[in-house]
Symmetry: C2
Subunit: 199 residues, 2 copies
């Protein structure tokens, strides 16, 4: 990319380091950026540095946040007696978007995965157990993904929670709404059958 000069080549290289952005997309973004109003470019650049500097993990729930505790943990309108355990902040965001859950979260930032060398100590579980001892929690909802690792993690947490005498639930597995039984995999079909509820 020498033909664009060093500064432009540098920008294209830096952009192409981002995930899902190849050299062609990086070039397209770079051209867009140099044609943006200077004010907006400044805003983009400072949003990037500011995020890196200011965003830490919430000391209570482990969600990413620029304040501690995070916006959710510090919201007094939320039900502190229910904690939903999720794998990532993005999973938390998915539940926040539907506005159906008013409790608090606990973000594990990972799942137990022996294949990847991640055991119970590598994910943020100790913090969760400390919370359960100090807060008056009545229900823990396990909302890890229905994958092998997610299930193993949920099972592990459920077993540990037996000591706390707290109601432990797992989000339902079954046919996704709008799905077609014809195309749903066998395990999901089995789960949907086993998890059937009376109507």
């Amino acid at each position: 990319m020498k033909y664009y000069g060093e500064v432009m080549s540098n920008l294209i290289t830096e952009l192409s380091r981002l995930p899902g952005i190849g050299l062609k997309s990086a070039q397209r973004l770079a051209f867009y950026i140099i044609n943006m109003p200077e004010k907006n470019v400044g805003k983009l650049a400072s949003a990037i540095t500011e995020a890196k500097i200011k965003i830490k993990k919430c000391s209570v729930c482990n969600n990413i946040s620029d304040s501690d505790p995070c916006v959710i943990c510090s919201n007094t309108k939320r039900d502190i007696h229910t904690i939903m355990v999720v794998e990532t902040p993005q999973d938390m965001a998915s539940y926040e978007r539907i506005k159906e859950f008013n409790g608090l979260y606990h973000v594990l930032n990972g799942v137990i995965s022996p294949m990847a060398g991640i055991g119970p100590n590598e994910i943020d579980l100790q913090n969760l157990f400390t919370r359960l001892s100090s807060q008056n929690v009545s229900e823990v909802i396990l909302a890890t993904n229905p994958t092998v690792e997610g299930e193993a993690t949920a099972m592990y947490i459920a077993r540990m929670l037996k000591n706390f005498n707290i109601k432990t639930t797992r989000i339902a597995k079954g046919i996704p709404v709008g799905g077609d039984l014809e195309y749903v995999d066998e395990i999901t079909l089995t789960q949907a059958l086993n998890g059937r509820i009376e109507i």
Copy 2:
């Protein structure tokens, strides 16, 4: 995106303003950025601001550049007697990548398009004619795209160049290498036939 806090929401918003980046991709990029080493984040942010501040147009060929004249115009090893006229810096880059052309370029930054209200005065033609008068140019290669606008622009320039008594050529149109005659459109087939060369 309030659940991530203001700083993260701001980063996601700024990223999602870029072309081809929706809210989901912006979120993915934002998470990647906050997990990048601080040094790399700084490099990315400064590459963005630096590009916006330093990149201008080359006063000779109109290519984008952080030096004036640009790297190509200031390269003394290039043949200053041949000028290839292209629509955009990206088109110039395409020809640079193949390393087959050693002349100079002239970047129009647009094409004549009456439908969009862009006439000959809106693209950088005057600069080209000034160059032709002052430099000792022996050939002008018209490499605008083979679209309606690109053709019209090439035709217009060719007509104007008659006054300069300079050899004017147009890049060949035909079947792309590796293409299949069965799937090539009729106009291209016609062009390929009319532009046939003796072997």
